[in-house]
C-alpha cells in the first residue's frame, strides 16, 4: 500500500541529499571537533561552516548559534538558563497557554520548584496571542517572555515581530520556539527583535537528535549541561558533527526551494481544508486561514467521533495523521491548545491534524479526500452521539 505520510509536524523524512552529506562524517571524517589534530580540525571546520549556514538563514551571527540535542533542550536552555541567570533582577516570566510542552512544562517547573511566577497568556479563538496582552502582562520583575513562532497543533503563526518589539521596548528578553517554522516561515532575529530562538533539524527533513538555540550576543543563559565547555560553554558534550552537517544541508535545501515549496504546500493545504469542509458534514477548521497559518498544516474538528479511532482507521487506509484527542496522548488529557481556543472537551477529542511535507502530493490529498468521508461515516455509524444528534434533528 502506498502510505501518505501526513504527520510532518511530528517529524519528517530525512532528505536523501541530507543523508548523503552526513554519511562521510559518520564513517570517515569522524574526528572530535575539540581535538587539534588534522581530523579534529576537519570536523571543526565542517561544524563551523554548518553554523554559518544556519546562522545566515535566520539573520544571526555564527557565534550566536548554539547546537543542542533537540528542540526541547533548546527551549529548556533558553528559559531555565535565562530565568536562572536573571533571577536577581526578577522572578516573573510570561508564556502563552498554547506553548509546546518543551516551553510550557519548563515554565511550570520553574513555578513549582524554583519560586518563579509565571503568567500564562490566553489566546483567541484562532489561537493568537495578543501583543497588547503581552505589554500589559510585563511587570517590573519580568525578565523573559516566550511565545512560539507558530503553533505545532493548529498552525497559528503568532505575531512574534510585534511581541519582540514590545519586549525590546520594555527591556525584557524575548524567546520564541521556532521548531515548526524554520524553513517554512521567514525568520530574521534582528528584524523580529528575537533574543533567543529554538529550532530542530528533524522537522525540516534533517536528522533527529540535533537542535539549535540562537542566543543574542551578550546573553549568557546558565548552562544545563556542565562539562568540557563545548559550544562556548553553553552546552557541554561532544558535538554531533554528522547531525549538525545534516541540519545545515537541510536548512540549505529548505532555503533554496523556499518560495515554490511553501506555495506548493499552501495550495495543497487549502485544497485539503476546502475538500474536507465541503466533503464531510459537521467538520470545522481549527486555527486561522491564509498567510497567518503554517503552509503545511491543516487541523480539522470532526464532530461526533473520537480522534484516536479516526487516526487508526486512517492508518489502516494508508494515511499517517495526528490527533489532539486525549486517548492517543500519554496522559489522557485532551490537547491544551484546543481547550485554550475554546473547544469543549468532547470537541477536542474529535480532531485530526494533517501536516504536509516535501513528498506530499496532490494525488495523496485527493486520495485522502476520497477516503475520509467513508471512514468518518463508519465511525459515526457506531457513535451514540451521532444517533442522538440525529434524533434531535441536528444532523
Amino acid at each position: 500500500m502506498d502510505v501518505a505520510y501526513f504527520d510532518n509536524a511530528a517529524t519528517t523524512r530525512v532528505d536523501p541529499r541530507v543523508a548523503e552529506a552526513m554519511l562521510p562524517f559518520l564513517t570517515e571524517r569522524y574526528g572530535n571537533a575539540s581535538e587539534p589534530h588534522a581530523m579534529g580540525i576537519d570536523a571543526r571546520e565542517a561544524l563551523e561552516a554548518s553554523r554559518s549556514t544556519i546562522a545566515g538563514a535566520i539573520g544571526a551571527r555564527p557565534e550566536e548559534v548554539v547546537f543542542t540535542g533537540c528542540g526541547t533542550e533548546s527551549d529548556n536552555l533558553a528559559i531555565k538558563g535565562m530565568a536562572r541567570r536573571l533571577k536577581k533582577q526578577g522572578r516573573h516570566i510570561i508564556v502563552s497557554q498554547v506553548e509546546h510542552p518543551a516551553v510550557f512544562e519548563t515554565a511550570k517547573h520553574l513555578e513549582r520548584e524554583e519560586g518563579f511566577e509565571v503568567t500564562f497568556l490566553p489566546v483567541d479563538r484562532e489561537g493568537f496571542v495578543s501583543p497588547a496582552a503581552v505589554d500589559e502582562a510585563i511587570r517590573k520583575d519580568t525578565t523573559l517572555v516566550s511565545v512560539m513562532h507558530a503553533n505545532n497543533e493548529i498552525g497559528t503563526i503568532e505575531p512574534v515581530a510585534e511581541i519582540g518589539a514590545i519586549c525590546r521596548e520594555r527591556g525584557v528578553l524575548f524567546h520564541t520556539d521556532a521548531v515548526q517554522t524554520l524553513g517554512k516561515v521567514p525568520i530574521d532575529v534582528e528584524d523580529m527583535n528575537i533574543d533567543l530562538l529554538a529550532a530542530s533539524a528533524h522537522k525540516v527533513h534533517g536528522p533527529k537528535g540535533v537542535g539549535l538555540l540562537y542566543v543574542r550576543k551578550g546573553l549568557r543563559p546558565e548552562p544545563i549541561l556542565h562539562g568540557g565547555g563545548h559550544e562556548g560553554g553553553l552546552r557541554s558534550g561532544t558535538e554531533n558533527v554528522a547531525g549538525i552537517v545534516g541540519f545545515a544541508r537541510a536548512v540549505e535545501l529548505a532555503r533554496d526551494s523556499f518560495e515554490e515549496e511553501t506555495a506548493r504546500c499552501r495550495h495543497l493545504r487549502d485544497a485539503l481544508i476546502d475538500g474536507v469542509l465541503a466533503g464531510v458534514p459537521h467538520t470545522y477548521l481549527n486555527g486561522p486561514r491564509g498567510d497567518r497559518r503554517l503552509p503545511h498544516n491543516a487541523h480539522l474538528g470532526v464532530r461526533y467521533i473520537e480522534g484516536e479511532s479516526l487516526l487508526l482507521r486512517l492508518d489502516a487506509e494508508g494515511f499517517e495523521v495526528s490527533t489532539g484527542s486525549a486517548c492517543s496522548s500519554g496522559d489522557l488529557e485532551p490537547s491544551r491548545t484546543l481547550l485554550a481556543i475554546g473547544l469543549r472537551h468532547e470537541e477536542a477529542h474529535g480532531s485530526v491534524r494533517v501536516t504536509l511535507g516535501r513528498w506530499s502530493t496532490g494525488a495523496q490529498v485527493d486520495r485522502f479526500l476520497g477516503a475520509l468521508p467513508r471512514v468518518v461515516g463508519q465511525l459515526r455509524a457506531m457513535s451514540p452521539l451521532y444517533s442522538e444528534a440525529k434524533a434531535r434533528g441536528e444532523v
Partner: protein, 154 residues
C-alpha cells in the same frame, strides 16, 4: 500498542448498531472523557438473546464493546452479570495499561443494560436506559482540575 485481537474488533466490530425494541439499554461514560458506550439487550427466558452496542471512543472502547457483545450473547442474566472488566481485557489479549480504566467500560455497560431490563421488569420507567456514569462524579474534570488521570482514567 494494541493486540491483534483489539485491532480486529476495532476494525470489524461485531453486533454494532442501535437495537429496535430493546428490553434493556445501558449507557456508560461521558463525552467529556472521550468515551460513551451504549449497550442494548433483548432477554428471552432469562438469557441474553440479542445484544448490540454503539460507542463513541478510542479503539479500545470500540473493541471492548464488540467483545462484550460476543461474550454475553446466549448467557443467562446471572452469568452475564459475572463478566468483569478484567475478563473483557483478557479476552482481547490485554489492553494498554492506560486504557484499562477509561476505555474498558463494556462490563459496566452490560451491567447497566441488565439493571435497566430488571427495572423495566419491575415496572419502573427508564426512558433512554440506565446510566452508570463513572465520570459523572468527577465534576473537577470539566473544569480541568482533575489531577489524577491514572486513578480517574481521564
Amino acid at each position: 500498542m494494541y493486540s491483534e485481537k483489539v485491532k480486529q474488533h476495532f476494525m470489524n466490530p461485531h453486533n454494532m448498531g442501535e437495537m429496535e425494541g430493546a428490553d434493556g439499554v445501558g449507557v456508560v461514560g461521558n463525552p467529556v472523557c472521550g468515551d460513551v458506550m451504549k449497550i442494548f439487550i433483548k432477554v428471552r427466558d432469562g438469557r441474553i438473546a440479542d445484544i448490540s452496542f454503539q460507542t463513541f471512543g478510542c479503539a479500545a472502547a470500540i473493541a471492548t464493546s464488540s467483545m462484550i457483545t460476543d461474550m454475553a450473547r446466549g448467557r443467562t442474566i446471572e452469568e452475564a452479570l459475572k463478566i468483569t472488566r478484567g475478563d473483557v481485557a483478557d479476552a482481547l489479549d490485554g489492553l494498554p495499561k492506560i486504557k484499562m480504566h477509561c476505555s474498558n467500560l463494556a462490563a459496566d455497560g452490560l451491567r447497566a443494560a441488565i439493571e435497566d431490563y430488571q427495572k423495566r421488569q419491575r415496572g419502573e420507567v427508564s426512558p433512554g436506559g440506565t446510566s452508570a456514569d463513572p465520570c459523572a462524579a468527577c465534576a473537577a474534570h470539566a473544569t480541568g482540575e482533575c489531577d489524577s488521570p491514572t486513578q480517574h482514567g481521564h
